[in-house]
């Protein structure tokens, strides 16, 4: 591998890592702070992609706006859906054991897949890249790099900064962190923990959906696309430390590097490298790289 190829591969690794963070961030919020194993997280990612596919033509027709307004409207829809789902299903799961959480959220995967099949069908769809982001940058004599991928990275970095600031610098963030440590105590201090959790859950879903929407133009939209990202997200959450945004960020980048360079340098074992890495981290630090709330 010559130097320029190495740099391009590094760029690929960082970009993939950032996209992984975008999906995993919502999962670590819900898993770490509320203690719910949400297997349906991938389905919300898929939901986001299908939302982008379904509403982008409508949005551009009625508002004249493009990608940004699609993202905003999509996130709002996702927040509403997340809020309703928490109220209907997830709010009953906090005190239950993990098996029941796994059963219910797995059931939700099947239901969401079926609803998708009924509403949109089983075909593969594409979402066009907006005109102003459709350019590409010449990297080497034959290879170009689409600007839209840089845009995805930008969105991921913005979101990482925003989440970090909200959780560590605001009163809301303080309440969320406190709630994850001792639910009863914060309740007795007069904080409406039910409402708080509902908001956190809706945010987590909205982030997953946002990831799906942003990724839709490059990943295309197809059935079962959520399951692919679900496993890798759990790996990231576990490596980074359950509930830690900082941990998820660093773990995502590490996985991005291992995956990208693994495929190139060790293609025979590329499929298991990530899991070997996880096992090594857990032997060294059984609860992940960082603590919850950090």
């Amino acid at each position: 591998m010559d130097l320029s190829t190495f740099f391009i591969q590094t760029l690929n690794a960082v970009q993939y890592g950032l996209l992984l963070f975008l999906v995993a961030a919502g999962l670590t919020l819900i898993f770490g702070i509320m203690g719910v194993i949400n297997l349906a997280h991938g389905s919300f990612y898929m939901m986001g992609s299908y939302l982008a596919f379904a509403i982008s033509p409508v949005v551009s027709e009625s508002f004249g706006g493009g990608l940004i307004s699609t993202l905003i409207i999509g996130v709002l829809i996702a927040i509403v859906i997340g809020y309703i789902l928490e109220w209907l299903f997830y709010s009953y799961l906090y005190e239950r054991d993990h098996l029941q959480q796994v059963l219910m959220t797995y059931g939700l995967i099947l239901v969401i897949e079926e609803i998708r099949s009924i509403l949109v069908g089983d075909d593969v769809h594409g979402v066009p890249i907006p005109q102003w982001l459709s350019a590409s940058i010449q990297l080497s004599d034959v290879m170009t790099y689409p600007v839209y991928r840089l845009f995805i990275s930008g969105v991921c970095i913005l979101l990482a900064i925003a989440m970090f600031l909200i959780l560590s610098k605001t009163k809301l963030g303080m309440m969320i962190r406190a709630g994850s440590v001792n639910r009863e105590m914060i309740q007795s201090l007069g904080v409406n923990i039910k409402f708080l959790y509902r908001i956190v859950f809706a945010m987590g879903i909205a982030i997953a959906a946002l990831a799906g929407m942003v990724a839709a133009p490059v990943s295309s939209v197809y059935p079962g696309m959520g399951q692919g990202v679900l496993i890798i997200c759990f790996v990231i959450v576990v490596i980074g430390g359950i509930g830690s945004i900082k941990g998820a960020f660093i773990a995502s980048l590490l996985i991005g590097f291992i995956d990208t360079f693994g495929k190139v340098l060790l293609p025979e074992v590329a499929g298991v490298l990530v899991y070997i890495f996880m096992a090594m981290i857990l032997l060294w630090k059984p609860s992940g790289l960082f603590k919850a709330g950090s």
Binding site: D122, V124, H125, M143, T144, V218, G224, G228, K263, A270
Partner: protein, 388 residues
């Protein structure tokens, strides 16, 4: 008087119908084991539609026997495959099984069918082994082996004068078999596959591999992906600007049923398959019209394979006068038959796989336009099949 007349008529009717029943055989039970749900649901339904269309055209009977269908959704789930086909064979006592799309499921089905001796016709799954080491006189295929489109495309690539090629696919059986086929065709024609890139199934993060391609600059890239993976790979390949200097080719599945989603990125791409749009032979035009009338849908390659599975069954049944238990006669008849398929006439090899023309197709708009024949009467090598 009137009463007597009526009862007389009733008597004649019952006698007449009785004699008809005495002559004809009981209905033939056809077990349809296909994906009716999940990612491959559309494929399963197309095969089912195609099969039933042929039976309907014959008046609902094959070799004088009524057909009854027993359907099982295989969910494309290999772990449930053995149970599912055993249910059809042992509980429902079907005479013949049609299925399926997923290669892993089909392998399990072939194993069971080989042991029980039940006639099995595979309308899609291309696993090489089924008409290779696992071949049997009661197992047939109406579609292709994974290697076949690869061989055809490899021959074309070599003829076009490409010297070096790289391949990209998922690290799983179908992908590896397809690449092996391409390598065989390409290297026989004087080319050289310089590197075989793979990524774990069903990953869709291709950027690292595309960077490898850009660094190595082969003359051509052959890749096998399906469904969402096919869409994303073709789009990523174009987004990386590689399609301008290094043409991307593949088996037809790379651009079949996915052109809507691939859009601009797929334009001009060459693929090889045993079917395509604008074939423009009478058999195909009639088939497409009948299919569209019956189902209000356009048929695809899967519908054709289902239709031909029914044709192959009909050939065998006609030769045995509807007695499917005569395995040797059934197999002999299918092996010498010329199946008049919408894809063009094909025959069946000694390993029971179609010997057929593979078309070279080019993506133009939303169609895979046939621009020539990539490989004429291409037979599968059928390595490991000892049947003569």
């Amino acid at each position: 008087m009137k009463q007597i007349k009526l009862s007389l008529i009733a008597l004649t009717i019952s006698v007449a119908s009785g004699s008809v029943f005495a002559q004809s055989q009981p209905p033939l039970k056809v077990g349809m084991m296909l994906p009716y749900s999940g990612t491959f649901a559309a494929l399963g339904n197309a095969i089912d539609n195609g099969f039933q269309l042929y039976v309907k055209e014959q008046g609902g009977k094959l070799a004088g026997r009524e057909i009854t269908y027993i359907k099982v959704d295989d969910e494309s789930e290999p772990s449930k495959a053995t149970d599912n086909i055993n249910k059809l064979i042992k509980r429902d006592n079907v005479d013949v099984v049609i299925g399926t799309v997923h290669s892993g499921v089909a392998m399990a089905m072939a194993k069971v069918a080989k042991e029980s001796g039940t006639t099995l016709i595979i309308p899609n799954a291309g696993a090489d082994a089924i008409t290779g080491p696992m071949c049997a006189k009661n197992i047939f295929r109406s579609s292709f082996t994974n290697g076949q489109p690869g061989i055809a495309m490899g021959e074309v690539a070599a003829k076009k004068g490409y010297k070096t090629a790289m391949t990209v696919t998922w690290k799983y059986a179908a992908g590896e078999e397809s690449v092996k086929g391409f390598k065989e065709g390409f290297e026989k024609g004087g080319g050289k596959v310089t590197k075989e890139l793979t990524l774990p199934f069903p990953g869709v993060e291709f950027q690292a591999l595309l960077t490898e391609v850009a660094a190595a600059k082969p003359d051509v890239v052959y890749s096998f992906f399906a469904g969402g993976g096919a869409v994303k790979f073709v789009k990523d390949y174009a987004a990386a600007g590689l399609n301008k200097t290094i043409p991307l080719v593949g088996p037809g599945f790379l651009t079949d049923g996915t052109l809507e989603a691939q859009g601009e990125a797929a334009q001009g791409m060459l693929t090889a398959l045993h079917y395509g749009d604008n074939l423009n032979i009478k058999r195909d035009n009639d088939f497409r019209l009948a299919y569209a009338k019956q189902y209000k849908l356009q048929p695809d390659v899967y519908a054709v394979q289902g239709y031909d599975a029914a044709q192959m069954l009909a050939v065998g049944l006609n030769a045995t006068k509807g007695d499917i238990s005569k395995k040797d006669e059934f197999a002999k008849a299918v092996r010498v038959a010329k199946i008049d398929s919408p894809r063009g006439v094909f025959t069946i090899s000694r390993a029971h796989n179609p010997v057929q023309d593979f078309y070279l197709r080019q993506v133009v708009g939303k169609e895979n336009k046939i621009i020539g024949v990539a490989s004429k009467s291409l037979s599968d090598p059928a390595r490991g099949c000892n049947m003569q």
